[in-house]
Every structure is written in structure tokens, then in C-alpha cells.
Symmetry: D3
């Protein structure tokens, strides 16, 4: 693990990136991507089960733009300096993904930040913590996964202390530039260095699954399907 | 904190009260009310994130009618005496808000109590515990926020031991006569003594937010919006 | 408690069984069944509140086919041997009900097993753990109650080590052949030996409740309704 | 389960009772009593692992005198009425055993109540909650098992609402008059109706264990010891 | 609540301060101080029950020097800058009291920091998180209360991001300059503005308790002791 | 990660192994070994904070002999077959280290297994679960780390289903043959493939720490010590 990191600037998504995101969103799903990661020995890339979408059809893929939020118990001198810098630096094709160390006292995400991220070209947000303004976020159409909902502001409860650094989000390590993919089954982080293999393996696996599903629907026993396809 | 309390009888909501509830439900939202409470130094008025509505459009405001429920492990001689007294005393414009000390063994609220509260003129219920008969409560159209759902009865599992006394509900202190306001973001308790200021601050803040939202939607950076409006 | 058990083979549901399931699903509900079990002294038959349906209308009754899943941290030589045997042995009219000792690392149920159980004639599944492929399970129309959702596979994370043995599922003891009944309020296990009395008591209680509900809706006080009907 | 109970008056321990307590404390231990209860089909009589002694040598047996404590959030009119009645009714040879529904806000036991119970002839106390004045309780020599330690008073935080009724203490059901036995391994409740069989089985089992221990210490393999003694 | 704070420089303890600490440590105890705070309406000043001393005789009083620690998942450029500043600024008569937002991944305190704080004149440390080097800390004789023990370093796991600001430690709000008092019953924070009244009330209460204890030890009933002294 | 494993037979410790264990126990400590593992990029080798020694001086090093325990809710046909095989296969110089998936219902370790392991030459046991017979284990002098204490037997509550396979114990992955080292700060697992480097780094680091400690004790500021030694 390369633990020593400096802040990474990133670049806006290219047309090829946007095509990739579309392929992932429309043809793959997080479960098959998780299996492909398992096959390559990356077994802890899925975020924990408490990360749920605000709207049932929320689904997106994009490059991780990490935020590091922490709890606070007072209002510092410049409470928003880092938050403003973090949000304003979001680039086309990124997914805001925030660690809060599992905070249940603070709701570090709401309508305003959703709007700001949306107009910068972000594809969604993944907040390992609480959020608010959910109805307005749903109206905006910006997809967000979060741990829970509570109507409190972050002022005097927490702050963003860094961004574009490695974080832990809902049990998985996420580095800037990882591919974040979220659908109804949850959220998965694909490390940048193995992305091509993962996409290829997952695309192949989707095709294969159609065979076993069809046989099972015709009434075949698992024993025979497994003997034929070698997978379950 | 005035801890020494006697049972408070309350009075039915007046027409002015009902107008206030309508204003709160239609023009305010819990997040902006929470911010106004913060501004006045009341920072622990929002109930915890596990309090969720049984139906997604549940939204109500009203005076707190507190119930104190506790776990029991046997059936006392008069299991329903206090429960009947508590329910039958509910007045027009009240919100039943119940503490259970976070019980996960008992479901102290269901269709019958929803019906009884509804016909007495209650505007909703907030149960820091489990509920049952959810489908029938939804059909009745009575809005309820709860911690969870389980099909068990309260008989031999718990009892109401007092009502119209200060309680703690999902992490927030609630006194009889506080304004309880619940929408999709959660539930907030507004202490009676500061209600007018809170309503005024919240109403003003709603207006201001429209400005910053409009600018952000036009693509402005947070830095500039914050410089102009002074809030985030 | 008879703790010493051998594996029970069971038999497919008869037409009378299927009629019973239909009666339970259409005329009873878990809350009234729970009350009937309480009355007979069986007070811990409801599964805990975290067992929720994947689709809001999921509702089913059937004979318990228990699975015992455990966490693993490596891939054993024959990872699927017991899982295949367990699934392929599912019979018409059964409900797959799985213990995982509350695992949050493994998702032992998904589309493939739902399909396999569905074509064998299972009426639903109750998984005290995580599941995946939720969208596909919803499309299949197979009802499932679970503790949560995460996109990971069971390979190298857990295994089925036995089936048709007594288990503990979400806090309740379940034996093969118990009646499992699930509706929006949750899941309840009815021990086989008292099933007839429970069905009779519950059917009677449903009728009685209509009276008290009607009176309450006309504005009666709980005190008077309780004096007349003797129940709450 | 006999759920419908009235308050039970009890009687002071006889000389025979005191001899029994001495036999249990000096010749048995909770593990062997737990095994004997298992053998008779009573498998949930041991309190949970978080119940620990305040002093490492705390060990006692006596008749259960149950207290039911609940959380409160205000000071009622007569905060101590039931507490005084409960404590003053403690009889020679009893063990105070208190349910708090797992409260972590209140410390319902301390030096004063320890002293009062001690002079009434209580053999110890088991508090499923927090306690305070631990140093003074240790100096008094009164043995207490508890869930934790915190220096807060119960006034305005909780109250005793009943005594001599069935309770649940740290996961186990306890009825007035059960034998409570506590040693370094934890606390176990022996239902009164099976006490003679449990004492007999446990006394026999202690004798048998000496044989297998001796063989193991001489280097025998478990396989051979099990083949010879039929127990592990 | 004054939430807007700047860093407070403090001053070393005077001889009068040191006399006060000695009085508190030798003549008062946290339980009686907690009762005095209750009486003045400060009801949430005791830290939670999981804060335990590393050595059973750890007992100290001193002025709060707050540290704010947060979890991190990488090694920042200057990992120790704030930690060195915080430790080197500790003054005679202070108690280091650290918030970690309840971190279980990081052990932000050990022998080195204990030694540094000790030589600066600190009277003890209260760490709402994990610690290590416990044997060496015990040998040094520096008293520490903590949430738990784990042998990991803070490098790449967490960092001190601020000091001398208001924090929340184990459930209680602590401001720089509060009196922190820890004994075997736990830890309590006395706000500076009410310290004189608290000390006076607590000193008086200690005297009174001796009367009721003596009567109880002579066999008096609680009812009569309460009638005579008016307190329990 | 090599996930596919077959059961590993191991070999008894050699004299060189025993010398190594002695060096580790007498000259190193878990904190410095953890730091050395961190330096080599192995950052999750320390078991969680709830693993505590039964006796305060328990300290041992040895080769991991892993056991995999799971919860059960009935008594299988041969409840002890795998347990007997596992215990009887323990070799000189091994540490029994057991996963239970965090079970709180079962106490899979007690005096009998301690005795059996002790006579086979085991150096200690690390049980991620509950244990019983603690007094007798202490008298035997066999060092055990565990999650908690409860007097229940494993029969009908759990079973050993495999041994000498990779497990997860209290949050850390452990493979057969890893070096397990436990002292008062906790337990750490050193993967076999990096053991020599870890021992070397840790031995060097112990020497260096003496310098900075000595300077701090003389009153040096952290800033200067860090400038001189480059470590904290």
C-alpha cells in the first residue's frame, strides 16, 4: 500500500471516459464487478450494506474525488475554506466520495453541495455519513448514496479537512482516481491500476450468466448447471 | 433545565395554532428549522437518523403530547390503565411522541392507537421504538415516524408508565407543548419558549436560500456564492 | 427443547397445504398471528425488526426449509457441495430460511439461488444476512426478506454447512417444517405442533378487531372500547 | 411461561437455605451449573458476558429479589417511594437482581443501596446497568456484578417502578425466588422448580470432571479421554 | 453555548490551583461532584462508562488541555506538526483530554506522549480512544483513562488537528480550562464558570453522607433514613 | 491473497524456534512489532482492542494453529469429532487461535481445552469469542486472550468446523504458521513470509527508542527530540 500521498490534481473526463461510464452503467452491475475484483484478488472493494441510494434508480460510474470529513465540536475561524476549495475543484466525470469516520452527529451533504457538484459535472456522490435536503436532491436528479438522513447542518458539527487523498469509505479503501460504481446493490471501488482487466472480466461474465439463468428457469437442478458451467 | 415537572394538561389547538402548523408544513422544512435553532444556540433538537416515516410523504407539525413507555417482562394487573388514559387525553393539534428508551423488544404503537389518536385530532405520531400494522396505518392516512417495524404486541413486553412529562426521544429532549415538526429529512423539536423566533428566522432563511441556489444552478463557484451571500 | 436432530427430509406441499398458505396470506397478517402465539405462551416467534422485504408487497406463507450458513475466510475444496444439495432439495411449498449468525461480510443469496428456489416451488426466502442482485430478484417476482444488501459473492466469504436442522434466524428459533409467514410487518415462525390452534385463534381475532376499529373510527374513547371488547 | 404475576412476598432464608448457598459457593461453579441446566433443557439461564464482578473474588448464591428499573428524563413527585419499599423489603439470603433494559444513562446502584441491602442480609447484587461508589462498595465487602461504572446518580435519570416481578436481566429471564449464583465466570439463574435436580446433577458432574482432568494432565489425548468418559 | 472559539493559551497552575487539585483528589470523589453538578442543572458532565483507568489507583484533578484527534487513512506531509505543538504546549497542572470521535482504528496515545506530558507537569490524560505501551505507562506512574488498548501507532491512522478548542469526549462536552477529575468511578468535567459552587456543594455533601451511612450500618431502614436526612 | 488452501500439517517447534519465541517475549513488545509491520506495508495485523488477557502477565509467542468455530443451534451427530482432531493435532510451540465470527452465544474454550493444549506444548490461546473456567485456567498457568467470559458450554451452541485454514480473528487475517505474539497491549499476527525482516526491524527499533525516552525524561521538548531522532 502506498500510504504516502500528495494531493492529486486529476483531469476532466475525456469522451472515452464518458463512454466507459455509460458502458458500466448500462451493461454491467456492481455484483459482477465485485466478482471480477475477487477473481483478481481484490476482495474488499465493496462498501458496506448501510450505504443506500436516496432514490431507487440512482446508478452512476465516475472517477473518485475523495473528501475527508471529520467531526468538530466548535466553529473554527474559517469553517468553509477547505469545503469551498474541495467542491469548486470537482471535475467533469467525477464522483464525490466522502469519509466521515462513520459520523452520526453531522450531515455533511445536502442540496447546496449537490447543486454545486452537479453543475461542475459530477456524476453522483457517496457519503459515508448523514445527508439532508433529500427531497430537493431528488428533484435535482443528482444521485446520492448515504448512510442515513438527518436535518442538521455541518456548521459546528464537522468540517472537510482534506480532499484528493486516500480515504476509507464504509469499510473500503478508496484512492483518488479509482472508478466508483453504484447501483441498487450498493457501491464498489475499482482501483485505477486494474480497471481494464476488471471491465473485461465483468463484461465476459455478464454474457456467461445468461446461459445458466436460462437453464435454471427451464427447471434444471443447480447440480447439473454447476457441472456444465463450472460456476454458481 | 427544569427537571421537576408535574403533569401538564394542555389545551386543544386554536385556529391560530392550526394556521401555524399549516405554514410550517407548507413553507418550511426541518433542515431550515434546525439551522434556526442552531443560530439560537439550541443544537440538539433533531431526532436521530433512525427515525423514518412509514410513508414517504408523511409530514406534520403539532404540539408535543409526550408518552413514556418502558419495557416489561410480565403482564401487570392493569396493563392498559395508563395507556387508555394517555390516548384518551390526546387533544386536537397534538403529536404523540413516545420514548421507549430505544426498546427493540416491544412494538408499542399500531393501527388501533393510530386510529384512536387520529379521531382525537392528533396530527401524527413519533415513536422511538417499533410499530406494527403498518399497512393499515398507511391506509388510514395517519403519519407516523418510527425506529422500525415488528409484528409483536405490547402486552407483556412494555407499558406506558406516564405521559405529559419531559422525555428523551431518539437522542433529543422533548417537553410537553414543544412544536414537533417532521418531514422527509427527519423530526425536530422546537422548545415552546423560542418558537416565535425560530419561525421567523426559518421563514427568512427560506427566502435567502433561493438566491444562492439560483446562482449555483447558473454555474457559479461556491467561493463566489459564499463571498456574496455569506452563508453556505 | 429437542436439540438433538437428524436431517429431516420433508414432503412436497399438498393441495390442502397450498389452500392453507393462501388463507394465511389473504386473510391473516403477522401481527394477529403473533398475538395468537403470545396467547398460547409462544412469545419469541417474531423475527427482529431488521428483516425487511426487498419489494413492499412481498407476502408469503410456507413450510420452513432451514439453511445454516457460516462465515469463512478461504475457499474450501468443494465450496458448493452443500449449497447445491440444499437448494436442489427444496420442495414445493417451502420457504428457504437461512441463518448466518448475523454475518455482515457475506451475501449468501442472490438471483441465481432465487431462480433455483423459485423453479423448485419455493414460496419465498428469509435470509438473516445480506443479499445481492436485488433488481433481478424483483424482476423474477420471487419474494425475499433480508437484513441488508451488498454486491459481494459468497465464494471465500461463507458457506452453507448444513440444512434442515434447527436454526436461529434474526433472534427466533426456527425448526424445519415450521410455518413461516411474512408480510409488511415482518416475519413470524409458527411451530408445527401448534399450527391448527394458531390459525383458529388468529382467524377469530381478525373478525373481532373489526368491531373495535369501527367504534374507534366513529370517535369512541379507548376506555369505552376496552370496557366493551376487553381487548386493545 | 407464566406471565401473569402478582407481587410475591417471599420469606427469609432458613438455616437449610444458608447451608445450600454455602454448598453452591464452595463446591460448585457457574459453568457446571450451566451444564446441568442445559441437560435439563434450560439453555438460556446464563447472563451475558458484560456482567462482571466489581471485585475479582465476588462469589455468592441466594434467592432472587428482582427489581425493575427504567430510564426517566425528569424527577417525578415521589422519586424514591418504590425504591425505598423495594430495598426495605429485602430479606435474609436474597440477591438483589435488577433489570434496567440495558440503560447506559443511569447508575441505579451505589454505596448507599449496597449498605442497605447488606444490613438486611442480602448476599450480593446483580445490576444489568451501571453502578457507582465502587471503592466504597469494595471496602464494605458487599459483592456486586454490573455492566459498567459511571459516577452519576439515578435522580432524574431512572427509577425503580416495581419489584418481585419477572424481569429480564442481561439476556436471561429471572423470576423472584430463582437461585442466583455468581462467580468469576459470570452469573446464572436457576429456576426454583428445578433447583434440586440441578444441584444434584452439578454435584455429580464436579466429581466426574476430576477424572478427565487428571488424565489430560498426564498427557492423554482428547480422543482417548472422550472415548473413556464420554464427555468433554 | 459559546461555539465560536479561538485557541486559548492558558497559564501554568498556581500554588492555589495545586492545593485545589489536592483537595479534590483527597477529599472528594467523582460521584459527589456529579451530584453537585446535577444540583446546579449541569446533568451531562460525566464521561461514559467505557472510560476506564489503566491502573486501578489512577486518580487526578487538573485543568483541561483539550486535543482534537481524527482518523486518517494516509500519511500527510507533516504528520506530527500539530501533535508536537500540542504536546509541547502542555502546562503544569493540566490534564490532556482527547477526542477521537470514538476511533477504534487508531491508538493516539502511548508511552512517548505520556512521558512528554509527565515532564511538562501534566497530572494525567483522558483519551476517548485506544492507547498502547500500557506496561511502560504504568511503570512511569502517569495516570491515564482510555477506551481501550491496542498496539498500533497513529502514523497513517490518525492525527491531532487542533488543540485547546471545545471537544466532545466520551459523550460530554469539555472546554479548555474545565476542571477534569478522574477516580475509580470514572471521569467528570466541571465547567470553569461554576467551579467554586461545585467544590463547596460537594465538600458539604461528603460530610452529610457520613451520617446516613452510619445509620444504615446500624441497621436502619431506608425509609427512616430518608425521612431524617431528606436525601438518598 | 492466496485464498485456496488445503489443510497444513505443520511441524513441532525446533530449538531455534523456541529461542526465537523467547527473544520475542523477553526483548520485543507488540507495539514495536506493529510498527515494524507498518513499515513493511502490513498495516492490519493487530487484533482488535476487545481481545484481552485473562491474567495481566499473559505474554507468549508461537506459531499459529488456527481453529474455525461457528455458531450452531442444535447438537449434530458427532459434535466433537473435529474438535478432538483439532486439539489432538496441536504441536509443540503453537498458539491456538480461534475465529468464531464474533459469537456472543457460545464459549468455545475452557479449562479442558486449555489443559489439552498445554500438555501438547501450546504456548497460549487467542479466542475471538467467549471463554469459561477462567479461575482454573489461571491456576493452570496457561495464557489465554479472549473477547469475554460466560459460563456456558459449546454443546448445542457451536462447533469447530475446520482447523489449519486461514481465518479472521478479531479483525485481522491469520494463516497457519504465522507468528502470533501477545502481550498486555494486545495480539499481533506476523505473516511467516516476512518474519525475519520484522524481527530485525523491531529489535533495532527497541534500541533506538531508549534514546528518545531518556531525553524526554530529562525534560526535552518533543520538537527537539523529533528533530534529532526523526521519529516519534
Amino acid at each position: 500500500m502506498n500510504n504516502q500521498t500528495t494531493r492529486i490534481s486529476g483531469r476532466p473526463a475525456t469522451l472515452a471516459d464518458l463512454d466507459l461510464f455509460k458502458h458500466v452503467e448500462e451493461h454491467l452491475y456492481t455484483a459482477v464487478v465485485s466478482d471480477s475484483l475477487d477473481e483478481l484478488g481484490y476482495r474488499n472493494q465493496a462498501l458496506r450494506e448501510f450505504m443506500r441510494p436516496l432514490s431507487p434508480n440512482d446508478c452512476f460510474a465516475g472517477w473518485a474525488r475523495t473528501f475527508s470529513c471529520v467531526d468538530m465540536y466548535h466553529i473554527p475561524t474559517e469553517p468553509y475554506a477547505m469545503e469551498i476549495a474541495a467542491l469548486d475543484s470537482v471535475l467533469l466525470g467525477e464522483v464525490v466520495i466522502a469519509s466521515t469516520a462513520g459520523s452520526m452527529q453531522n450531515a455533511p451533504w445536502g442540496e447546496l453541495l449537490s447543486t454545486a457538484a452537479h453543475v461542475r459535472g459530477a456524476r453522483g456522490a457517496v457519503i459515508d455519513g448523514l445527508v439532508r435536503d433529500v427531497r430537493k436532491i431528488q428533484e435535482l436528479g443528482f444521485p446520492v448514496f448515504a448512510r442515513g438522513i438527518k436535518p442538521v447542518d455541518s456548521k459546528g458539527r464537522g468540517a472537510i479537512i482534506d480532499y484528493n487523498v486516500p480515504i476509507e469509505c464504509a469499510g473500503a479503501r478508496v484512492c483518488p482516481g479509482d472508478l466508483i460504481f453504484a447501483d441498487y446493490d450498493g457501491v464498489i471501488a475499482v482501483p485505477a491500476e486494474i480497471l481494464p482487466q476488471v471491465i473485461q472480466l465483468a463484461t465476459e461474465k455478464v454474457a456467461k450468466e445468461n446461459g445458466s439463468r436460462a437453464e435454471l428457469l427451464r427447471g434444471a437442478y443447480l447440480k447439473d448447471v454447476f457441472a456444465k458451467y463450472g460456476v454458481l
